[in-house]
Subunit: 224 residues, 2 copies
């Protein structure tokens, strides 16, 4: 069933970890592989989290290097001279200063190239437009345009699955619980400041805490 294999983009964060368990539930563990990008993120702890989570779930993991975003520079997730915002906020352009332009588009295009070489046509990404981080490349309209572009540009009938697209953070936590992913979430990493235990005050920590609080579930990361 070549056609039914899936590649999950696994960052090591809460959303992609939940998507991995969604993909295992949907396609079966033996049909799922994961791809992680080493793109010069300041916090290498994300890569370690991705590796640990894939091993815990019993699926393969490939880490692909991307040096180009670091060369482009200009945002606070890659450039230590630009501070991470203390709260969810925007810069003069109306976008968060953690926005890396094109990041998800490049990630998904590389994932499609990797999948193309292996005859995989299902891609799974943890992007969401509900309770989202303010990044326009997480929206469904963008992802659908990209899916069309990848289908045409590689002559392969790719399908990009985004199981979290219309879920709130609360619903994403509930989905993770229903999929038995809570243990893996204890290994995941969200904090923009690279802290473990997490700083609790950066936008990523705040969004994560909101979801667990609203779901009435204790975040296993905080008790790990």
């Amino acid at each position: 069933m070549t056609d039914q294999r899936a590649l999950v983009l696994l960052s090591g964060g809460q959303d992609s970890t939940t998507c991995l368990f969604w993909a295992i539930d949907h396609f079966g563990k033996n049909a799922v592989a994961t791809l992680t990008f080493d793109y010069g993120q300041q916090h290498r702890i994300e890569l370690d989290a991705a590796r640990r989570i894939a091993a815990y779930a019993g699926v393969g993991n490939t880490i692909l290097p991307i040096d180009t975003f670091a060369a482009l520079g200009g945002n606070s997730l890659l450039d230590s001279s630009i501070p991470v915002p203390v709260s969810v906020g925007t810069d003069a352009s109306g976008l968060p200063n953690t926005f890396v332009p094109g990041r998800n588009l490049v990630f998904l295009t590389y994932a499609a190239a990797y999948a193309w070489q292996r005859d995989i046509r299902h891609l799974v990404a943890g992007v969401a437009q509900t309770d989202y981080s303010g990044y326009p490349d997480c929206r469904e309209e963008t992802i659908l345009a990209l899916q069309r572009c990848l289908q045409l540009g590689m002559e392969r009938n790719f399908r990009i699955h985004t199981p979290l697209m219309h879920r709130s953070k609360r619903e994403t936590v509930q989905l993770a619980v229903s999929l038995g992913a809570l243990g893996a979430l204890g290994m995941s990493h969200s904090c923009y400041n690279g802290k473990r235990p997490p700083c609790g005050s950066c936008p990523a920590c705040q969004l994560r805490a909101k979801g667990f609080a609203e779901a009435g579930i204790e975040d296993p990361l905080l008790t790990a």
Copy 2:
């Protein structure tokens, strides 16, 4: 006139060199910059050609590193263990074995990210679907889908200009002549085997020779 600046993707080949002169004609020399990708191509002579051509034209040039395609591997332009085809041909998938999946999509997405950071909204690329190399990411339908995707994903009204899209190789040579780009074409590089003077037998050399022959123009590269 921030809105009217343009970024040309300059590979150092015949088509992108012609596009550079089209952009200078269209936007004015002071409104044009060029971007070149160092993506592990076997023949560094392409990068030297791009630098020389930009300097000759009097416009800026930035070279951006992309290590990811080399890490992906699996095609003859990047992997010296896979031979370059001796003629224009296809592999079992129906695509040339020089196809690097996603290459133009990634190039244009990075170009958009670079342009986004500099408030440039016009991108110029030398892709063409007439007399084309068999790459599906050169077709107009793909480029239009990508343009939409970049507009949505970066919230910027990008316009991807493809002046060669519907031109044959003969018409591209005629355009270059009319734009005064013939001198620069003598510095450009096309040969897949990295030869200068060109090997004359690889698919890129054959396509280039066909265009000059049909236009009745002597290729300045052969007399340089």
